[in-house]
């Protein structure tokens, strides 16, 4: 299986993969800095890399919040209703 082989290769080169991803993130931020802000109506349109910050904080909060309430009281054993 070619695909499985490719995935195995990527797995054994995690360090390189990580570096590539970090460069990609940096490129995205730089790309956003270069975009024109002339048509911006609202404050969030003017902030540089707003959605990168939003994505980072939002994802962090979502994970912490959801896992938090699951551990606090939502999570029950699978036979809870039986």
């Amino acid at each position: 299986m070619k695909l499985a082989h490719t995935i195995e290769t990527l797995r054994s080169n995690l360090k390189t993969l990580k570096r590539v991803m970090i460069v990609f993130l940096a490129v995205l931020v730089v790309f956003d800095l270069l975009l024109s802000r002339e048509d911006a109506h609202f404050l969030i349109d003017k902030i540089y890399a707003y959605w990168a910050i939003f994505g980072t904080i939002g994802c962090f909060v979502l994970i912490k919040f959801s896992k938090g309430i699951a551990h606090m009281f939502l999570g029950k054993d699978e036979d809870f209703y039986e």
């Binding site: 993130l25 975009l35 939003f54 939002g58 979502l62």
Partner: protein, 585 residues
């Protein structure tokens, strides 16, 4: 009057044909019927068809306009893909239920009045429940009954509202309602519709029932009920502020649960709530761009959510479980399924070149355009959760994680073909958005591929990916279920059963004892007397009529097969004949 073939007719007739065919002939029918329906939709001209008068009610079977047509397009396409995916299924009852369900959904979206809509609305509920029951487990039986009860409750809300509406206006006509004019009647109808759209807090039936459905049935279920509800909300309640707020709440609520659920199909079911939330929010915002977005998103969503359910179903079908805690490493044994699932996942997450990118963004852009920045931010927060749960979490833990399922190989070829075609459609819509935009109800010059939107989407998705890998150790799936509001009615039922067992049963026993000792003796005596009177006097007078009744009974018994599908199909045919007779007269 110009002629028009209602696409639902094909499905109803098909469901009558199915029991008589086996093997290849049945497979041909299963695929041919949706194709005929697609042709009927493609050749339909806009207009009003099938007006009838029944019990002093003016009904309309076919209101064909751009809004109903876009839903009809995706419903019929989905029916084909769903039938292809379910082709290997032996039980003809399952296929019949599927066809009745699709047919009644089509009936509902073309209905021009509340009366016709209500009939199809109820057939939808009663046919779709079989797609859950055919799983044939205790859990699915129970979940099916709860599903039915909740939908009967929703139907009652709708019915009460519809009657009050008739009392108020003297008409059942189903038209757009201005938010300022809405009273009790309109809001009852609204909440009846909202229950089917799984709007909070009337949503718990969905993640309760869909994960218990059959592998093939879930693919149908995830497409039709909620999207029919989206259609009727868009038709009747555009611009209602409550929908904008509840819809946005749904988007975030759904992803929070999707992040913590363990069973893939439960993750996906909660995620339907989130996705339908986008559509409901779009309807609530109510501008042309927002309504276009709701319709476009419904179209795109049906395809990629079905694709995801197909992928999850294939995993369940081949490994016997869909729990992330028991899965992992499937990339080695089910690579095609993985590719198709990932196409669904990046479509739903809104990656550029995939369908979610061109549909979801219309609703977000509409919120932005109207200056509803809170809504916009929350919708994008839900977008983060979408990629996090359906995209990253499920893909990582099912296909790449450490576990190694005992038996796994690719599913049957019909399943793979269904997933492949659906994947292709997701890609086509993403690359050529005009193929979808051409069907939209309002004229629009919205262009999804601009630099700002690309930058926004890629930033959100990529940084979500970053945090996912940073917090990977915190995200492991757990062998748990999570409480939801169905807790209240499920616990209420068990409380009632206990009450029944302890209190009512004791009283019942006492009463039974009393009855046996005192009542029965007198009853036997009087029965003896009346029997004698009946034989000698009455049958003597009406001479022989009893005997002929017995004969007729034997004939009718032949029709009573004891199979409830047959009854539903039979009553549908009778209903159509009666309505057509009245329409002609």
């Amino acid at each position: 009057m110009n002629s028009w073939l209602h696409p639902a007719l094909f499905f109803f007739l098909g469901s009558l044909l199915l029991p008589f065919f086996q093997g290849k002939a049945r497979k041909a029918i299963l695929l041919l019927i949706p194709v005929l329906a697609i042709i009927a939709v493609a050749t339909a001209e806009q207009g009003i068809y099938g007006q009838y008068r029944f019990l002093n009610v003016d009904g309309v079977f076919g209101r064909v306009d751009k809004l109903s047509l876009i839903f009809a397009w995706v419903f019929t396409i989905m029916a084909f893909l769903g039938a292809l995916y379910a082709l290997h299924k032996e039980e003809s009852g399952h296929h019949i239920a599927g066809f009745l369900y699709v047919g009644s959904s089509l009936g509902a979206i073309f209905a021009g009045d509340y009366f016709t809509l209500f009939i199809f609305w109820e057939i939808m509920a009663f046919s779709s429940v079989f797609l859950i029951w055919y799983r044939r487990t205790k859990k699915s039986l129970d979940a099916g009954f709860r599903y039915l009860l909740v939908h009967v409750f929703g139907g009652l809300l709708f019915f009460t509202g519809m009657m009050l509406y008739y009392y108020k206006t003297g008409s059942f006509a189903f038209e757009g309602i201005a938010p300022g004019n809405a009273g009790l009647a309109e809001y009852l109808i609204l909440w009846g519709f909202a229950l089917n759209a799984a709007v909070l807090p009337l949503h718990a039936w969905l993640p309760d029932a869909y994960p218990e459905a059959t592998v093939e049935g879930a693919v149908f279920l995830c497409a039709f009920t909620t999207k029919t509800a989206v259609y009727v909300l868009a038709r009747g309640f555009a611009g209602f502020e409550v929908l904008a707020i509840m819809g946005t709440a749904m988007t975030v609520f759904g992803v929070c649960y999707a992040v913590i659920e363990n069973d893939i199909r439960r993750v996906l079911a909660y995620h339907i709530i989130s996705q339908v939330g986008y559509m409901v929010a779009g309807i609530g915002i109510g501008t042309h761009l927002a309504l276009n977005g709701a319709a476009a998103h419904a179209f795109a969503h049906i395809l990629y959510k079905a694709l995801l359910f197909m992928g999850a179903g294939a995993v369940l079908y081949m490994t016997g479980t869909a729990k992330l805690t028991q899965l992992g490493g499937l990339f080695k044994t089910m690579p095609l399924t993985m590719i198709f699932y990932i196409v669904g996942a990046v479509s739903i997450a809104g990656f550029p070149l995939f369908s979610g990118f061109v549909s979801k963004s219309m609703i977000v852009a509409a919120a932005h355009q109207e200056g509803r920045l809170w809504l916009m931010n929350l919708l994008n927060l839900a977008g983060i959760g979408t990629f996090l749960s359906v995209g990253l979490k499920v893909t990582y833990f099912a296909f790449f994680g450490k576990g190694e399922p005992v038996t796994a190989k690719e599913p049957p070829s019909n399943m793979l073909w269904a997933m492949g075609i659906t994947s292709l459609l997701c890609l086509v819509i993403g690359v050529y958005p005009d193929s979808l935009y051409i069907l939209l109800p309002f004229a629009s010059d919205y262009r999804p591929y601009n630099l700002h939107h690309l930058s926004e989407a890629l930033q959100i998705l990529s940084f979500t990916g970053l945090v996912f890998f940073l917090l990977l150790s915190k995200l492991g799936p757990e062998e748990k279920i999570n409480l939801d509001v169905d807790y209240f009615y499920r616990k209420a039922v068990s409380f009632f059963l206990k009450f029944d067992d302890k209190v009512i049963a004791v009283f019942d026993d006492l009463w039974g004892e009393l009855y046996r000792t005192l009542g029965l003796r007198a009853l036997f005596k009087s029965a003896e007397m009346s029997y004698g009177f009946d034989r000698k006097a009455i049958d003597g007078i009406v001479d022989g009529s009893a005997a002929s009744t017995v004969k007729l009974g034997a004939t009718v018994r032949g029709l009573q097969t004891g199979r409830i599908q047959t009854y539903i199909a039979l009553s549908l045919v009778i209903f159509f004949v009666v309505v057509l007779l009245f329409a002609v007269v």
